[in-house]
Amino acid sequence: MGEKRKPRFLENRLGIMGNIVPWVLMIRDNPERVAFVLHRLTGLLLIIYLPVHIFVTSMTVNPQKWEDFLRLEENPLAQFFLWILFGSIVFHGLNGIRLLLVEGLGKGIGKPEPPEPPYKPTSLSSAQRKWLYAVFAIWLIVWIVGGIILFREFGWV
């Protein structure tokens, strides 16, 4: 028999890196945590982009400025960023709907049970876990298909 594996504990104080980089999280069987981090990252990207988007949109009132901006969008980096942005919107939106159901309305988390060992919360094996996997699957499909459509238009593929 091999050596008994050491138990791993959830770290309560992950620090800023733990909240930013999902790959530093050494947590097994916790896709909710990955979704939390991705929701945060995509949310931060979107709130940074929002003022820029509003500023850029204000350029549409000036035909010359708008033409100059559209030329900037020919840049491959700008096109790649557009795809990243699209993926962020899709993930944040889909996961947001799941959070509305789970956190806001208390759906899909099962019934509470007495806290008996091994203390596995019912919420981790309830419908919300399936919804979470559905969110990941739909997000990846929509993001990849959207990327193919966008990059085909931009002449990348």
Partner: protein, 120 residues
């Protein structure tokens, strides 16, 4: 600032509205739906048409996006650090950013309304 519970309810309410408004907004730029290509959807003539047909929906989108984004940002910043001075700074920051975004967005819409009605 309103109570934290009120802000969190606001976050949920704006999230529900955003799911609808933002889907329409993204769909407006999706190739093959309203326009043949993405590039066509960002041409000035298309933008003008969007303001003409969806002007007030865009204002609603602007308001809910700004509220949702800034309440979310405030929550993240207050989780990173705590303290009365930090909280005052974060509150000032979100109010300032909100005023900037709502002001500029409203200016853009009003300018477009002027262009549509008086030419330009």
């Amino acid at each position: 600032m309103p109570r934290e519970s009120t802000l969190h309810l606001l976050l949920y309410a704006t999230a529900g509205l955003l799911a609808v408004f933002l889907t329409i907004h993204v769909a407006l730029h999706a190739p093959g739906l309203f326009y043949d290509t993405y590039k066509e959807s960002v041409q000035r003539e298309s933008v003008r048409r969007n303001y003409e047909n969806f002007g007030w929906a865009l204002v609603a989108l602007l308001i809910v996006a700004v509220i949702h984004g800034l309440v979310g940002l405030r929550g993240i910043l207050l989780e990173l650090r705590q303290g009365p001075r930090w909280e005052a700074f974060v509150n000032f920051l979100v109010v300032f950013l909100g005023a900037y975004m709502l002001g500029l967005g409203t200016y853009t819409l009003l300018t477009w309304l002027g262009i549509m009605h008086f030419g330009g």
